[in-house]
Amino acid sequence: MSDLLDLSAVEARAALDAKSISATELTSAYIDAAEQTAALNNYVLLTPDHALDMAARADQRLAKGEAGLLEGIPLGVKDLFCTTGVATTACSRILQGFTPPYESTVTANLWAEGAVMLGKLNCDEFAMGSANETSAFGPAINPWQSAEKIDLVPGGSSGGSASAVAARSALMATGTDTGGSIRQPAAFCGVVGLKPTYGRCSRWGIVAFASSLDQAGPFTRTVADNALMLQAMASHDAKDSTSSDVPLQDVMAAVGQGVKGMKIGVPREYVMDGMDPDVMALWQQGQDWLRQAGAELVEVSLPHTKYALPTYYIIAPAEASSNLARYDGVRYGLRVEAGSLDQMYEATRAAGFGEEVQRRILIGTYVLSAGYYDAYYLKAQRVRRLIKQDFDTVFTTVDALLTPATPSAAFAVGRKIDDPVVNFLNDVFTVPANLAGLPGMSVPAGLNGDGLPLGLQVLGKPYDEASLYRVAGVLEQAAAFTATPTRRAGGAK
């Protein structure tokens, strides 16, 4: 069984086409794997019957030679994507029982290419968090462990997605990234995670967190798989006004293209005080790999880097406070009866939203409120322009940037932190790309001293995912990251 689980999606597609395995077999193996790794709490809803149904239909299409890009590939869907007839909760109590009568564009694209849905994956409530600890369904657990053998966080908000792919309970998974919610968990779980250019994937049907920052993206175990999944997910969607119609390059071809002649920037401001020495070392190692592969490494400057986090923590909560106003108990989800209409609103939202979500709604409401709008929100949007301009300038001289993905490896579940700002710092390397709308990818690059995965982040120009795949392809080959987590399905290898 674990042999099946170790096939990459590209390999599985070949095997399916060659009829050496069937979609039903492959899906069954993943269903078993999901059940076996249930303790990781990655799936908030497993849909085995639905999955086998889809697999059966995939087998029919395979028999007729009508395979789509992802025909027969079993994947998990972050519970932020609305899936027709399948409960979608954003891992929040306020959406308990919500069954959408519609499908998000991204998942519709995946099903149209023949992919199979294993179920809905755990995440931070309304995508707010970087450890998957704010979910109404309880934390998702990282399948990696250090010698201490304690539960570690998988990162967030797409913790369930990253963990499932790492644990081999999904061959691929969808995620969303607003401030790092794909790239950071990918790094924590030793998998590949891409946040595409803003506008590359449609946001229609994805529960909105921060509209100008949210972007759907793929989690996979290999870079080639990632390109394949992006190809299937991305599309121009007329139902999303922010969707771009710039055509996607041939990203699958880019994976093996190498980096000869490319100029890779290393931003000096990403060297942080007291940086984890393992992270620093890996970053250096990454630069060496790229240099050896024929790229030129150049130090660059992104002067406003340190302001990215506070900027993000004004803009994201502000947009979220407005996006979450629709959760009011009137038309769907939880309703707590409590007297008048306003009382119902207040009781429903207080009972339905968790602490982190409430905190962000309050901050967001505050920074938009009369008297504070100019000082906070408008100020943040001005700084945002400066941050974007930094990147625009740098990208006139380099093709891509190499940075660490996270300041550390995965940390313990339930780590007691009184100061919410400490948690925000998890996103220090990832947030700038969201503010500037740039594509960014995290690639597993090595293990730290505790045997936990660390990732390297590649950032690129808008709509230039191909360059990311070129760099990531080289990093992947050089890193030769073959380690697998102890708590993976099919046992540790």
Binding site: A90, F98, P100, I206, A210, S241, E319, R326, A370
Partner: protein, 484 residues
């Protein structure tokens, strides 16, 4: 000019500004593809976007944008090629998103002007501050159940144009004239049907009072008035209330009020202790709206002639009175009817026949111009028969009544009923001689100084002729015979 209101302690000037919400005429809604039509079953014209389901996103309807631009052009206003949509955040059961998509800092249309005509025929220019596009809200029904309200989202998301005037009006009459004119322009342009009863056009009235020459006083806002009568009543009530309040030593609170149509009074809206903080910010699901100058120019070139321009033309070129010109150009279809009816005819006479006889008949029968039996050509034909002397004005009224009833044209009726005016002087002389001979005593009295009897003789001659004698000729010949 003076429209001052006299209070207990002196004169007061009334300052009025209006915010009119006009539903855009379009097939689909502003940001969703659901139908914008009126009268559907509950929640039938509601898409998932309108219902604010998770993950839904707005996409703007080009025609709604163009309708707003057309309206701006009709108000001689500045068209802003770039404008921004903002979210206006508040909670209410008929607002599923928890925010309304509107335009705050950068509306699509800027300053313009609207010319109103007052009862005495004078005109005033009222400034337009801005026009912006926004979503309409749904409908709540609070009287179907003792403890529950029922929500219908059909109207949610329908495009509204909010047209804000400057506080240039100084009386309820001016306010009513403003709304009438605005409605007329919107209907001319086809950008809003102006049906106030159905809610396509509603007004919020901002009213304040001040001593002449003083600074603006504190204003109140009375919302959702859907008839000219209510607008005037609300203003009159507010003005009286505010004056009394101030004269009694109190101050006017800046607040929002509701008008009670039953009592004709305004009252404070309940539970507004926390002033609304709408937390406007640019909607991140939308990008700035950009239209090109070419798009605007094309729209301008295709606009129909506007009421003010037609009115000026009717007065200057056709010699119509300002009053008649205003009445005829109130609605586009009457102006078009008039144009066709009066072509090649006595323009003033046609105007007179339209405003008096035709409109009178329509009022009585309850029909509209397009429903009734009279076509423009028919009216023109009737007037032509008067002009060329075939029938008298008096007979024409009977012919008209017949036309209105049966749909037959004037010439046919005149022929069938033999109503041709008698203008043969010989025949008329004969009639006159008959009447004179039969009334010699009165002839004596007339010649003796009782001038008023002339009318009696005219009447008798007309009666004898079955009304068909040419009245002018009768007068002339009768006079010469009697005075001789």
């Amino acid at each position: 000019m003076s429209q001052l209101v006299t209070g207990r302690t002196g004169d007061w000037e009334v300052v009025i500004g209006l915010e009119v919400h006009a539903q855009v005429s379009s097939q689909a809604k502003l940001f969703s593809g659901a139908s914008a039509s009126f009268g559907a079953a509950p929640n039938e014209n509601v898409s998932l976007v309108d219902a604010a389901m998770p993950g839904m996103l707005p996409v703007i309807n080009r025609e709604c944008v163009y309708q707003a631009i057309r309206t701006g052009l009709g108000l001689k206003a500045q068209i802003n090629l770039t404008s921004v949509f903002d979210r206006k955040n508040y909670f209410y059961a008929d607002l599923p998103q928890g925010y309304q998509i509107s335009q705050f800092k950068h509306p699509i249309v800027g300053e313009g002007v609207l010319r109103i005509v007052l009862a005495d025929g004078s005109t005033r220019d009222i400034g337009i501050e801005r026009l912006h596009l926004e979503q309409d809200a749904g409908k709540s029904m609070h009287d179907q159940h003792p403890s529950k309200s029922y929500i219908d989202l059909n109207r949610t998301g329908v495009a509204l144009m909010e047209i804000v005037s400057r506080p240039d009006m100084r009386s309820a009459a001016e306010a009513a004239a403003y709304v009438r004119k605005l409605r007329s322009i919107l209907r001319y342009l086809g950008t809003c049907d102006g049906n106030m009863e159905e809610g396509s056009l509603r007004a919020d009235v901002n009213v304040s009072v001040r001593r002449p020459g003083a600074e603006f006083g504190t204003r109140t806002e009375t919302k959702n008035l859907n008839s000219l009568r209510f607008i005037q009543q609300a203003i009159d009530y507010e003005v009286a209330r505010q004056i009394e309040l101030i004269e009694d030593g109190g101050t006017v609170d800046q607040e929002t009020r509701l008008f009670d149509t039953n009592t004709g009074t305004t009252r404070t809206m309940r539970s507004k202790e926390d002033a609304h903080d709408y937390r406007y910010f640019p909607d991140p699901d939308l990008l700035p709206l950009v239209v090109t100058q070419k798009e605007v120019d094309d729209l301008a070139a295709a606009l129909p002639e506007l009421p003010d321009d037609i009115r000026d033309r009717l007065i200057n070129d056709y010699g119509l009175s300002p009053y008649d010109a205003s009445v005829i150009t109130e609605e586009r279809d009457t102006a078009e009817f008039y144009e066709v009816a009066s072509a090649g005819q006595d323009r003033k006479l046609v105007a007179n026949w339209m405003t008096v006889e035709l409109f009178g008949a329509l009022n009585k029968s309850g029909q509209s111009l397009s429903d009734c039996n009279i076509s423009p050509a028919m009216l023109g034909g009737l007037v032509g028969l008067i002009s060329d002397g075939t029938i008298s004005g008096r007979i024409a009224k009977d012919v008209f009544a017949d036309m209105f009833e049966t749909g037959k044209d004037a010439a046919s009726i005149v022929d069938e009923k033999g109503l041709k005016q008698v203008s043969d002087s010989g025949a008329i002389e004969a009639l006159i001689d008959t009447v004179i001979a039969a009334n010699m005593d009165k002839v004596e009295e007339y010649r003796g100084g009782k001038d008023k009897l002339f009318g009696f003789f005219v009447g008798q001659v007309m009666k004898q002729s079955g009304g068909q004698a040419n009245p002018g000729m009768v007068n002339q010949i009768l006079k010469s015979k009697l005075d001789s």
